[in-house]
């Protein structure tokens, strides 16, 4: 069996020298798999992705313990440029497109580390096929796109890198229902072509429907993990992430009562 593309071992991350956000988190993305990461807001999912790509520095964050390995290579604390050249691409939280340049130019930045012109052109054509909306807006300044269009651009930009491992931080955010399905299909398709995927999603239904394996993170630690199918069947997961009430029938949101649910796996 080939080694996992990504293995995170006992990772600890501290912001601002005082805020401990990841507390010994470990996970693995096997080669060619889709792994999803679930967890409440503020659990540290984005922080984990930052740690992997080396983007903690601009946030005054630091890895204080643990290792991150990419295949055979240790990339703990490596420079982002180096990590990207290792074949990682990322859809960042909050889209982070370059608002002042055109859609085309944004896509070109995604292919910054790639050399072969023909292959880049191929990727470009594929992105255009996946998101026809972008084709019409190729020369528009990206900042004027609608929210969802920007999200498509962000995904498209990551695809331009044709990575070995794709990190997705809430790719479905702000997308129309039909597009969410498309994005799901895209992820599956990319994965089929050999790209491993680490998917962070609030839309757990979507995430678990395509992932092979899932982790649940709470306050910086993995509190549960298992094959996606097992998680889908888990009572707690069903209640807290999938919105299915015990008796199977979905509640109407208009009927949610004024009570607060505070149950957590860990305090």
């Amino acid at each position: 069996m080939s080694p996992p593309v990504l293995s995170v071992n006992n990772l600890e991350v501290v912001y601002d020298d005082v805020v401990l956000v990841l507390r010994g988190l470990s996970l693995e993305v096997p080669d060619g798999a889709i792994v999803t990461l679930l967890g409440a807001n503020g659990a540290g999912k984005t922080t984990l992705l930052r740690a992997i790509t080396g983007l903690l520095m601009p946030h005054r964050g630091k890895i204080t313990k643990g290792t991150i390995r990419l295949g055979e290579d240790d990339i703990t604390g490596a420079d982002p440029a180096v990590v990207v050249r290792h074949g990682i691409a990322q859809v960042m939280e909050g889209r982070r497109i370059f608002a002042e340049i055109t859609v085309d130019e944004n896509l070109r930045t995604g292919a910054y580390t790639r050399r072969g012109r023909a292959e880049v052109r191929e990727s470009y054509a594929r992105v255009m096929d996946l998101f026809p909306v972008l084709r019409n807006r190729r020369r528009s300044i990206a900042g004027y796109l609608s929210g969802g269009e920007q999200q498509m651009l962000a995904i498209g930009r990551a695809l331009m890198a044709s990575p070995e491992l794709l990190l997705l931080d809430e790719p479905s955010l702000g997308l129309a229902p039909k597009l969410v399905e498309q994005v799901r299909d895209i992820i599956v398709e990319i994965n089929g072509q050999g790209t491993s995927v680490l998917l962070v999603e609030q839309n757990a239904v979507m995430a678990l429907s395509i992932a092979g394996f899932g982790y649940v993170v709470e306050t910086g630690k993995v509190v549960q993990d298992g094959p996606a199918a097992d998680l889908l069947a888990d009572e707690d997961i069903r209640e807290f992430y999938l919105g299915a009430a015990q008796h199977g029938q979905r509640r109407s949101l208009a009927d949610v009562k004024s009570y607060r649910r505070k149950k957590r796996w860990s305090a």
């Binding site: 020298d17 005082v18 805020v19």
Partner: protein
Amino acid sequence: MPKPHRNLVRDYAQDLRLFGSPMSKLGLVLMIAAFLVLPTVVQDDFWLSVLIYAGITAVGAIGLNLLTGYCGQISLGHAFFIGAGAYVTAKAGGDFGLPFPLWLLAAAAGGAVLGGLIGPFTLRLRGHYLAIVTLGLVFLGEHLWRNLDDFTGGNSGTSVDADVAIGPVNFADLSIFGESYSRNQGWFWLVWTLVGLVALLVKNLARTRPGRALQAVRDRDQAAEVIGVRAGRYKIGAFMTSSAIASTAGALFGSYQQFVSPDEWNLLLSIQYIAVIIVGGLGTVFGSVLGALFVGALPALIDRYSDVIPGVRTSVGDSGFISVFALNQAIFGLLIVLFLVLEPRGLAGIWLRIKTYFKTWPFSY
């Protein structure tokens, strides 16, 4: 035994107090004590004048911080308004002989009017473009100061002969209970009282409706508009208030120095103010004061103790290779770089860190 719940807040008014916590109350008391006692301990004219200049800079910096730190409008034109204040004082306090409170107000009013004229530029220009336009103001100003002979004395400059008495209390020649104090001692008290006053006013402004509006405009002006803040109005208001405060600082500067000439209000002065608010910390009143002390006192310290540093040339013909001033500037530059690399939020940021350190002590996280 310490009383429990000493931090308990019982109503909103209490929650809004500036010096609410016991620590900050203690700090306030200490600052007031230092303010009262310092001039009687440090009688040396040099150190007093350094502190007086630092105080004047603090006043001006609070004004700039209001504009840049709170409202997000970068201005390189602060020197212009400082100069204007000094010239207004030469006229109002010197030639017309108005009493101290009146010429101070006149200077502030003059600054506000000029700010009101320039302010509308902020409606059209953003960021660096605005900064460079205000930089142009410095050059236009210098041209005006040179050519408006009647008002400014032209190239020869003008003496500023404004008295600093409030009723019977003359700060230039204080005597309290038969004890008489030097001009610098009196000025120290005067200037630092004004620092406190301006700091308080601006702090008040910052924590009420207009102050919040300014910060909203800084963070996102479009969103601010949508929730009902007339961004343009607040930008102009900030410009006017800031330049009024700048002119107040200029008024103090002029009357303390007693003589002003056109080339003092140059870009370097503007940059110095920018340095003060960035080193101090943007968007904090206390930071402006810290920054002014740092930027004002550090060169003086280096200057005073330069003779012990090897390689420094303190007099003509000795063997040093770098002059005191050059060394001063170099150290100053290095410290700024070092500082901001370590703490981009400036002195106020360091202050915050110290506070959180003690708050969370002994736990590092």
